[in-house]
């Protein structure tokens, strides 16, 4: 469609068709870190199964899927922000606040699908505030999202004066446990769809390339006519939405909303992205990587519990396993 000005003139004999690596090689190369982490996850599971053979049972794998689903969803949103070289510290608070608002709506008798929409609004609002302050006012993402982290976490307590809410709606569990596609629980379905859709968008859609472009060099991206402001605003809004959605999935499973429910998740979500190959300076990583990072964190947690390692040692074990994983990744990178 672009009639390239200056049609290429070439000598027939000096022209060699450009060599493009085969699809397999390209995938292998561009998903190197992801593959390393996936291998690490499998190794962890095998090691754990030496102690505890149930590790590889269907039940345990379902546990891991269930436990990692909220973190995966949150990490995907955070990844979008990190890919643009931003950071979102507010997701944990958004998670908590969403849960409280949804809990209030449900215990106020609202129909659960409606309550979910209302609660997603929390993420949208927090994300829009983050995006607005970062994009239009030009404040540093760290500061902005630290502020919404503090405010959101505080409001999660304020809305119910600190009381937790038991969800009594008999159908709300369907959001997490139902099977929109028969045979596949929703929490798995949502994760698969979200990761696949994001990965597709990031690789194959112009919008996705823009996200990497902004993270790669935002000044150049602006010079190239990429709508940097809109995209940047968008990723913060998306991150908020993902955090809220993660919260709803979790709430639908746990059926109990607490003001502190997301407190530990922010650091985990950022860690998931970074383990999965994202750089905090932007422009790298993948949705699949963020997902694998989240799974790895959950798998380590699960393994430590299955083996029965004294919980005081859990942090050390988690740290060392992550260290080994990133060292493997690092070494394969040196080879390449």
């Amino acid at each position: 469609m672009t009639d390239t000005i200056a049609g290429a003139h070439r000598d027939a004999d000096s022209y060699h068709a450009p060599r493009r690596a085969s699809l397999g090689v390209r995938l292998l190369r561009s998903y190197r870190t992801e593959i390393a982490i996936a291998v690490a996850i499998i190794l962890i599971e095998l090691v754990v199964s030496l102690w505890s053979p149930q590790a590889l049972s269907y039940g345990n794998i379902a546990n891991i899927a269930q436990a990692s689903a909220p973190l995966i969803l949150m990490s995907l949103g955070v990844f979008l922000v990190i890919a643009t070289s931003g950071i979102d510290l507010s997701v944990g608070s958004t998670f908590s606040l969403t849960g409280m608002i949804a809990g209030l709506a449900l215990s106020g008798g609202m129909a659960w699908p409606l309550a979910c929409f209302v609660a997603l609004g929390v993420g949208l609002v927090v994300g829009a505030i983050n995006g607005g302050l970062v994009t239009f006012v030009g404040l540093a993402p760290f500061v902005v999202t630290l502020i919404t982290f503090a405010v959101g976490g505080s409001l999660a307590f304020v809305v119910t004066d600190g009381h937790s809410i038991a969800i009594l709606d008999p159908d709300f569990w369907r959001l997490n446990g139902g099977e929109l596609v028969p045979g596949l629980a929703n929490y798995v379905l949502f994760c698969i769809v979200a990761v696949a859709a994001l990965e597709f968008a990031l690789r194959k859609l112009v919008l996705g390339r823009w996200i990497y472009a902004i993270g790669s060099n935002d000044k150049a991206a602006r010079l190239l006519g990429i709508p940097v402001w809109a995209v940047r605003f968008g990723v913060y809004a998306a991150s908020g939405l993902f955090a809220s959605f993660a919260s709803l999935i979790s709430l639908s499973y746990i059926s109990n909303s607490e003001a502190t429910s997301g407190a530990n998740m922010m650091l985990q979500a950022i860690a998931a992205c970074v383990i999965g190959g994202a750089s905090l300076f932007g422009g790298t990583g993948s949705a699949i990587g963020a997902m694998l990072g989240a799974v790895m964190i959950t798998v380590i947690q699960n393994g430590v519990n299955l083996i029965g390692i004294n919980s005081f040692w859990q942090g050390s074990v988690t740290g060392l396993v992550i260290l080994i994983a990133v060292l493997i990744d690092r070494l394969t990178k040196m080879r390449a």
């Binding site: 390239t4 060599r19 493009r20 194959k204 112009v206 823009w210 990497y212 006519g225 709508p227 995209v231």
Partner: protein, 489 residues
């Protein structure tokens, strides 16, 4: 609807712009006709890049009128720009850097295979090899010279009707520039206009039809055919009287004290007594490996360096610097500037290390001011960020690093990239003066006229990066260089 003549694709009248208190453009005029190749000339800091950024809508003007195609609002695809400080996405591939910026809607599919082929075709016009081998390489992994080609390919494949090229040839070889120019001419014949900024006089004459000259933000020559202007008149208009090429060839420099440097490697063995200026000519691949070895950035074991007879093997640049090796690169963004630090720190950074200083002292302000003054560097204050300087001025800043403390071996890699004609002459004089005081200079440049003017010996590298010959003082000429490097005109 507009009174403007339909012959002009772009008309800018009375453009004004200031940054804070410094006014950069003061009623600048520029009119570009369809299908013409138009040179925009002016000294460093005259306001060329600023004007270009206003023309393509990146910077808001403070005053004046601007019409593109007779319209107040340029249609988004009308203009393509090659930016002086390259606007590339380091994590993305060469191909993607070329095709991504084309205007799209966000939810469109990229259609990578198709686009990649377009990108390849565009790049192949100026560099077949790059198009063949580096299309899927991340831009972070290619060098400045190749990046420049990518940036140009992007503009060429954009489908725009007006190209704004801000010093596109600043680090292209003669052959590459020629290829670019022939493309531009072909485009011109199809009605596509080009505005080109360059500090290389012979190039300007070779490619452009008319020129506009800016001086201190004012248009001093407005749309004059180049045939009507002598070199002297152009230089005069730019305000750089003394910039004409020295008529008398310089005598070889005899330094009384200093270090003798010898370089041995595949196909080369030279001994450089104090005061010698060795040129490196040819496609960047070969010279860059030698340069990286000389400065300890990336040691290539094929090269053996000795200083005063003692073999030197620099594992890191710090070792080289401590042995008195100085380095200036034309890749100022990557290899030179410390952008978050003030001008002062940028200037004294090298002397602090070479002089093994502990204290960032009071004297440094004075030293910095002296250095800036000697290179006629225009800056608000030495506490400003180097980002407030024009491209050529930033380059001068990097050279200013080595004025205070003359290195024993000075390695220059395209050191005058973007520097204006007048200042180049001053830089040649300064380098020659350093040599006279005992420095050994190794100078790589894509501009043969520069090498022939200053070097007393030149090593030529061929296109594969191997040494193809050493040209001694008497035989140096642009023709000889072209022949030896395989980059015949």
């Amino acid at each position: 609807m507009s009174a403007s003549s339909p012959d002009f694709i772009l008309e800018a009248v009375d453009i004004e712009k200031s940054f804070g208190a410094t006014s950069v453009l003061r009623r600048a005029d520029l009119r570009i006709a369809r299908g013409e190749i138009h040179a925009l000339l002016g000294g460093n800091g005259a306001g060329k890049s600023t004007l270009i950024r206003i023309l393509c809508g990146l910077l808001r003007r403070d005053g004046g009128t601007l019409r593109v195609d007779g319209q107040e609002e340029a249609s988004p695809n009308a203009i393509a720009v090659v930016f002086q400080e390259l606007a590339l996405l380091p994590h993305m591939t060469v191909a993607e850097n070329i095709y991504l910026p084309h205007r799209h809607r966000g939810l469109e599919r990229v259609r990578a295979a198709e686009r990649r082929e377009e990108a390849r075709a565009a790049l192949a016009q100026i560099d077949e090899t790059l198009a063949r081998e580096a299309l899927d390489t991340p831009v972070a992994e290619i060098d400045l010279h190749q990046r420049q080609l990518v940036e140009i390919a992007r503009a060429l494949s954009s489908g725009a009707r007006l190209l704004l090229l801000d010093e596109p040839t600043a680090n292209l070889t003669f052959a590459e520039s020629e290829r670019l120019f022939s493309i531009l001419r072909r485009l011109a014949s199809r009605g596509i206009a080009t505005l080109i900024v360059s500090h290389r006089m012979n190039e300007i004459r070779a490619v452009a039809d008319v020129c506009t000259i800016l001086r201190d933000g004012r248009t001093v020559v407005n749309r004059q055919p180049l045939t009507e202007l002598s070199d002297a008149a152009i230089v005069e208009a730019m305000g750089q009287k003394g910039a004409m090429r020295a008529e008398t060839a310089h005598a070889a420099i005899r330094a009384t004290a200093g270090t003798t440097v010898s370089i041995e490697g595949p196909g080369l063995s030279v001994t450089l007594p104090p005061g010698s200026v060795l040129g490196l000519a040819g496609a960047p691949g070969g010279p860059s490996r030698l340069i990286d070895t000389l400065i300890g950035a990336n040691t290539d074991l094929h090269w053996r360096i000795a200083m005063d007879g003692a073999l030197r093997h620099f594992a890191v640049p710090a070792e080289a610097v401590r042995q008195g090796v100085g380095y200036v690169s034309g890749d100022r963004a990557e290899k030179g500037l410390l952008v978050t630090l003030p001008i002062l720190d940028n200037v004294v950074a090298a002397a602090r290390i070479a002089g093994r200083r502990w204290f960032a002292g009071r004297r440094e302000a004075r030293v910095t001011q002296d250095a800036l003054e000697r290179l006629a560097i225009k800056a608000g204050s030495i506490d400003d960020s180097p980002l407030t300087l024009s491209g050529g001025t930033q380059q001068k800043l990097l050279l200013a690093r080595w004025l205070e403390r003359i290195p024993r071996l000075l390695v220059l890699e395209e050191p005058t990239r973007g520097v204006d004609i007048g200042t180049k002459r001053e830089i040649y004089a300064i380098i020659r003066d350093m040599a006279a005081r005992g420095a050994v200079v190794v100078w790589w440049s894509t501009e043969f006229s520069e090498l022939t003017e200053i070097c007393d010996r030149i090593v030529a590298f061929d296109l594969r990066g191997t040494v193809s010959g050493v040209i001694e003082a008497g035989n140096i000429s642009e023709v000889a260089l072209a022949r030896a490097t395989g980059m015949a005109a």
